[in-house]
């Protein structure tokens, strides 16, 4: 049985459509991440599930029961907000207990659940403090604890890590992953940070402009992006997108790059690629720096970023097209050097004029 099911969900604010006919099934116990740029509607979609917004069309089911007509408190979901939304005038303990008291859980039971959550999230030291006396990270743990004690069927997170500093964000991310492994409760997590999405998700739902662009495991989304939008949104450094002319070379696609280089790929030929010009997608790790006379294309290094374990080189092709490329960590390339680019045609992606992705190998 599906943990959560959205079918044909649409939402408008006034005349502005924010969610357009979205359908989605989330399995029991799955960790799903809604990933998309700012303003794409991912918070709205989450709030529809929570019941904080009313949908205009479609249906939402949790555990097989239709919930879209129920108030938020009756949906058996818990939400962690970006700004924590703790009750400022209550102690941490009362924050945790408030929801349980509302639903008539006995004080004994409340005490037990709080004790468990306190242990999991290590918030025992400040149970009697008020939120104003906590650091951002501590507040976030309390907010998560407040969700856990409710033992809901579904957890909703709206960018819960975005207010934390980098180190704490990474730590909390790991803790969330562990929490999910322990609880095995369905979770929906909203973020615009693709690293969070890649590391946390069982499946990623990439959203752009009111619609779902792709649903897939992190590796599917990375390896077989359904659209050029998904390709450019997932992965750092960003994928290279180069306008090309694609041609049929014996059933496989070959792409003529702007500098004249012909790149042979293992992507099955599709007539859609011939129309109106296509776009070639090359991940930086598939464009390696080699000696000046080697590789498929000559280029000039412009900017060199040394990251330690690898080196990112921004290299210009003969016609000036700039590509993000990778070299070894001990690379000696200097800006201005003439280099060769070894492009892995097997790992290339082609996007038809409408943005649809074409990839090597079976679909």
């Amino acid at each position: 049985m599906a943990g959560v099911e959205l079918s044909g969900v649409s939402k408008r604010f006034g005349d502005v459509s924010v969610i357009d006919n979205v359908s989605l099934e989330i399995a029991q116990g799955e960790f799903v991440v809604f990933l998309g740029p700012s303003g794409c509607g991912k918070s709205t979609l989450l709030r529809l599930v929570a019941g904080l917004e009313q949908l205009d069309e479609g249906a939402i089911l949790i555990d097989g029961n239709r919930v879209d007509n129920l108030p938020p408190g009756k949906r058996d979901v818990a939400m962690v907000f970006q700004h924590y939304a703790l009750y400022p005038h209550m102690t941490v303990r009362d924050n945790l207990a408030f929801g349980l008291r509302n639903t008539g859980v006995s004080e004994d039971e409340i005490g037990g659940r709080i004790a468990t959550a306190v242990e999991k999230l290590e918030i025992g030291d400040f149970l009697q403090r008020r939120p104003g006396q906590l650091s951002g990270g501590q507040k976030q743990r309390v907010a998560i604890a407040r969700a856990i004690v409710k033992q809901p069927k579904l957890f909703l997170f709206d960018e819960p890590l975005s207010n934390l500093d980098a180190a704490l964000r990474a730590r909390t991310r790991i803790e969330l992953a562990q929490l999910h492994q322990q609880l095995r409760t369905t979770m929906i997590f909203v973020t615009h940070d693709q690293v969070e999405a890649m590391t946390l998700a069982d499946r990623i739902v990439v959203i752009n402009e009111r619609r779902i662009e792709q649903i897939g495991t992190p590796m599917e989304v990375y390896r077989r992006p359904a659209t050029s939008f998904v390709a450019s949104f997932v992965g750092t450094p960003k994928i290279n997108l180069v306008p090309v002319t694609a041609a049929n070379a014996g059933g496989l696609a070959a792409a003529r790059m702007p500098d004249g280089t012909l790149l042979e790929t293992t992507i099955p030929w599709d007539e859609a690629l011939a129309r109106d010009g296509a776009t070639l997608g090359l991940r930086p790790e598939n464009v390696r720096i080699t000696g000046a006379t080697q590789g498929q294309a000559p280029a000039t290094a412009r900017v060199v970023e040394r990251l330690g374990e690898r080196t990112i080189v921004y290299a210009a092709l003969a016609d000036g097209t700039l590509l993000t490329t990778e070299d070894r960590g001990d690379s000696t390339v200097q800006p201005g050097d003439e280099v060769g680019l070894a492009i892995d045609g097997n790992a290339a992606h082609l996007f038809a004029a409408d943005g649809t992705g074409h990839h090597a190998g079976a679909a």
């Binding site: 938020p72 408190g73 907000f81 939304a85 009750y87 005038h89 408030f98 929801g99 407040r146 409710k150």
Partner: protein, 277 residues
């Protein structure tokens, strides 16, 4: 406020503020001293106030005189009712304007704001006629009711509720709280600083109000303290009882002083305009 912030005040400022404070306090001390003198001694020469004998006879007379006690009771009842009423109505209205969607909300709010701009003087005759026609003068209702239309209170509470992030309401709704429970258990407690500010100002205003009680309450038993004391000045007491009059003034000011001492923290904040923090 940290003590570090207090420490670095220039000496000149301290001296200036002390002197200004002294000037403010001087008339009050004068009133206090006069109230401690027998009226007949003051008749001869007010400078005798600086030399003994001092006496509490004026205060004894106040307590002995049933009339002042009645006025004190009236003032207390009217001020408390008005304060409670304003807090109750302003909180509900503020919540409504800040959180409920209803047609005409913005226009209605503007109408409330217009209320801020209309002085009491402009409406007092009409108000008098209204209460006269309803034969309601000389009742607590008449003394309290006009004060309940408090555009400033509605405005203050609306802004205060608006400043509370909606995420808080939403978290409470997800926690299974009804709309009333969200209001009562979550939002209202967060407005306590604003309630205190509004309550204190309303109470002071009601306590010190002179004009409307003067018009509405003509029956001696319905006078408030301010009107009652002023009325005392027009009889022989004004000529003969300066000490008694001053004792009345001190007496009238005491409740305000007591309130101030209790709610000092909130009053200072309110005046400093930091009530939101």
């Amino acid at each position: 406020m940290s003590s570090a912030a207090v420490r670095r005040v220039p000496r000149a400022a301290v001296i200036g503020v002390t002197m200004a404070a002294g000037l403010m306090v001087l008339p009050m001390l004068w009133v206090l001293i006069l109230s401690l003198k027998d009226s007949s001694a003051l008749m001869a020469d007010t400078t005798t106030a600086f030399s003994p004998p001092w006496t509490l006879v004026n205060y004894a007379n106040i307590v002995g005189d049933g009339q002042v006690a009645v006025w004190l009771l009236n003032s207390t009842i009217v001020s408390l009712l008005m304060t409670g009423g304003v807090l109750f109505l302003s909180s509900l209205a503020g919540y409504g304007f800040a959180r409920l969607e209803f047609p005409g909300r913005n226009i209605l709010f503007i109408v409330v704001l217009f209320g801020l701009a209309i002085p009491e003087q402009a409406v007092i005759i009409g108000r008098h006629q209204l209460f006269a026609a309803a034969e309601m003068h000389n009742t607590y209702t008449a003394l309290v009711m006009p004060g309940l239309s408090a555009p400033f209170g509605v405005f203050l509470m609306t802004q205060y509720f608006r400043a509370i992030p909606r995420e808080i309401d939403e978290a409470a709704m997800l926690d299974g709280a009804s709309r009333f429970r969200v209001f009562w258990r979550v939002l209202l407690p967060l407005t306590v600083p604003a309630q205190a500010t509004l309550g204190i100002f309303t109470f002071f205003h009601a306590w010190n109000d002179y004009w409307w009680p003067l018009i509405s309450a003509t029956n001696r038993d319905m006078l408030t303290l301010t009107v009652g004391i002023a009325a005392s000045q027009q009889n022989f007491a004004q000529a003969e009882g300066l000490g008694f009059l001053m004792a009345q003034a001190v007496f009238a000011g005491l409740p305000v002083l007591i309130i101030y001492v209790i709610f000092q923290k909130y009053i200072v904040r309110a005046v400093a305009g930091a009530a939101g923090q």
